[in-house]
Symmetry: C2
Subunit: 469 residues, 2 copies
């Protein structure tokens, strides 16, 4: 598949000192196995200047670029499966912590640092790096910023964009945007940081970031609570936020099907309840020294029980029990994968619409494909992973023809309630059609105008977010 | 000054139902009295569709638009003093609270609602609207978003952009961007919200916003503390954040000169200290029910005293004393105005650079203009208002010739330390030259490309942020 021209281009880059190799299979795959890359080259620049060199060469030759972080994206944004074969540009060699300033709660990172490495660097300095998600050992900061990743700490600290103070990036003409400001306040022109964050590599390659750090919570209390239904869960969230404020650092909703499926796929996992609940909340309070989150949690549990919001539950009594609770929660996506979803959705809703959606959706979905619905997610953020599975004993094949219709229906219901068809995973290649269908027309026109203005040759991650022209 | 063509254009808008009047003098002035508008017309649309009509008419006729909020901006962004006389578009009649959702902590506002009105609406629903600043009775939400205003609550809640979930705006072609999402998470394409916020009306007119609300702090403790120097102030901030976390809702630095000038201009104001301190901190802790911020504050005060960080201070013992403390702080800008600054600066620095700047700057400034330096600001955000005044008894005239050189010097020192020459006031017309001088070249090129792509005729707030072409 590699032409002489491809080879000549790769050789020219190598002559400028950039490491270029035929792309190994791992660069051509993605976790959901939907998009498949084609053989080509991967460039492995060692610093920002090399990224600039690579982009300039691609711009001059009209070669497309596939930016590549940790490869953990869930919407195919990291794998080009259509159009001319691009040059993959992986920032894995740019993996230095450039500087850490514990006294000002900031860290400056190469984009190729993994989320776990950033956490470790912050911990070594006695601080907390506020981003956390399942794929954090592989996911890199640059990729996380490109898709504006969410995860487990959004309720307390926000999305990745909310904890990013500044970025360095290479724009589509190869120029270097020097925006590594470590400032809380900087009103000096258009906020290109926020424009690039979430643009999924279609407007430039993020090469470095200045990120916020936080004090490490001195004390943590974790509880698994049984609630009657999602409405009660939201009332419980309101109670928690009213009483514990920003100390509420996690508020995860888990539906009955997830407990069933965990028993099916992970019988060894420690189940938090003997009788599987219809709906449960995994919540956590984290506080500084001087406060007693366990006491707060116990008082909240009691008051919620009195108020009829909670019918059962457990406050973790040890670090081991806390770890078991979280292990259970974090294994759910793997259980989902093993069972194999017919259709999966990463949706968000205004909190006041969330219970209505969960009440309405199952019947509507059953009319198309009567499978099992597993719902879990970051309730505190209005973000649900709302997935449809075959009935136990059935295979996916019996349903897959209706997968697309199910997703259309779910997204239609979500959008009608003011929600989003992509809460934290992004658009990538998977949801390009959804964005064209559901996106605001003025927004789409402005996006295209900006894309054309900054990347007139369309070399940056062609086919992601916006359709290929 | 009004031509027949101007009159005909105004009449045509009026025929479409839009209220159009000759602009009263208040639309042609700004608080610092530097920029002066020229007589023209002001359009007063009553809803978003009318804004769209007005913009379409201006786009068709090539007429410039001067968006106008509350008129409180401090960098001349609201007053056009050069180039063709624009149509002023004021959103003062769009002043409805569209909806409030206390249970999901969101409020949807017309852009013409004032900050005070938004606060009142939130309070009536038992919630807190997190934006607050001196000009809040006049400042409107749309203008606040246009400049990404800061203010007194940034430390805890962030800048205005950080508490905005979604915007509605009219783009330069008159199309309406429907982005009033009430979602914490929404990764569906480029974040035009963040691009428009802080673009100071040069990319569109914000007509509505969905904003976050918060639980009202049940208890507040306020203290005025004397610190040795800015380095000690930063160590004190670190201690406060470590111990009280997000409960630290204000951390304001005030230098000696401000106490002197307050005594000069406001002898009736209650001074917090008999002996004026060289440096003082006004700080506040706000917590939910169950916590005791006064106890936390007292313990922090004692520990800071033990550690040698604080030498004197007072924890407010009553609502009246708390109000006196804040009244003192909030009157400082007025005292500054009465004395009359030679040069004033709205700068931010990385926290670890802040003490070094404050140590270095006076001598360098004295070499140019040996006046009195008054420094106050939001230390927790790294944001200082760093202003130079005549020595007592002198007039400004003796210094004004060196005003520009002083500002150049201050900004040069700030930029060298990774800081910003505009922390919270924006660029407006006042700092267009500074942005061209200090702005990153790749950023400036991208800004111009975006401006041209979205506003090819250059009708939106011509001459603000970017120079007139």
């Amino acid at each position: 598949m590699l032409t002489d021209a491809d080879q000549a281009f790769a050789d020219a880059l190598a002559l400028r000192g950039v490491t270029v190799k035929p792309a190994a299979p791992n660069y051509l795959e993605e976790p959901r196995d939907v998009y498949h890359g084609r053989p080509g080259f991967v460039a492995l620049p060692s610093d920002t200047d090399q990224v600039s060199e690579v982009v300039k060469a691609c711009a001059a030759a009209g070669v497309g670029i596939q930016p590549y972080g940790g490869g953990t994206g869930l919407v195919g944004g990291q794998v080009s499966s259509e159009g001319p074969v691009p040059l993959i540009v992986s920032l894995e060699r740019m993996n230095r912590v450039r500087a850490i300033y514990p006294e000002e709660d900031t860290i400056v990172l190469d984009a190729g640092v993994t989320v776990s490495e950033a956490q470790a660097a912050a911990e070594a300095a006695g601080r907390l790096f506020p981003v956390s998600y399942g794929s954090q050992d592989s996911a890199r900061i640059g990729g996380g910023l490109a898709v504006n990743s969410g995860g487990l700490n959004v309720l307390r600290y926000g999305m990745v964009r909310d904890v990013c103070l500044g970025i360095e990036a290479v724009l589509p003409d190869g120029s270097i945007l020097n925006g590594l400001k470590r400032l809380r306040k900087d009103n000096t022109g258009y906020d290109l940081r926020h424009l690039l964050i979430g643009s999924e590599g279609t407007l430039g390659i993020i090469t470095g970031a200045a990120m916020r750090l936080f004090p490490r919570p001195a004390q943590i209390a974790t509880a698994f609570l049984v609630v009657r239904d999602p409405g009660a869960a939201i009332a419980l969230l309101t109670l928690f936020r009213q009483r514990a404020g920003e100390a509420v650092s996690a508020f995860e909703l888990i539906s009955r099907t997830n407990f069933d499926m965990m028993a099916e796929t992970h019988p060894e996992a420690r189940q938090p309840f003997e009788t599987f609940p219809e709906w449960a909340i995994l919540t956590e309070l984290g506080t500084g020294p001087g406060a007693d989150p366990e006491e707060m949690m116990t008082a909240l549990f009691e008051d919620a029980f009195e108020a009829g919001l909670v019918s059962d539950g457990a406050v973790a009594q040890s670090g081991q029990q806390r770890a078991d609770f979280w292990h259970f929660r974090e294994t759910i996506p793997e259980a989902n994968r093993r069972i194999g979803a017919i259709a999966s959705h990463d949706i968000s809703l205004p909190l006041s619409e969330l219970a209505g959606f969960i009440a309405e959706a199952p019947e509507a979905i059953a009319a198309i494909a009567p499978g099992r619905i597993a719902c879990f997610g970051h309730l505190g953020d209005g973000n649900l992973h709302y997935n449809l599975f075959p009935q136990r004993g059935d295979t996916r094949d019996a349903y897959m023809a209706r997968s697309h219709d199910v997703s259309d229906l779910v997204h239609e219901m979500v959008v009608a309630r003011g929600g989003s068809f992509s809460a934290e995973h992004g658009v990538g290649r998977k949801k390009v059609g959804e964005l064209q269908r559901w996106g605001d027309p003025a927004k789409l026109a402005a996006m295209r105008a900006i894309k054309t203005a900054l990347d007139p040759k369309g070399i940056m991650n062609p086919g992601a977010v916006l359709p290929l022209l």
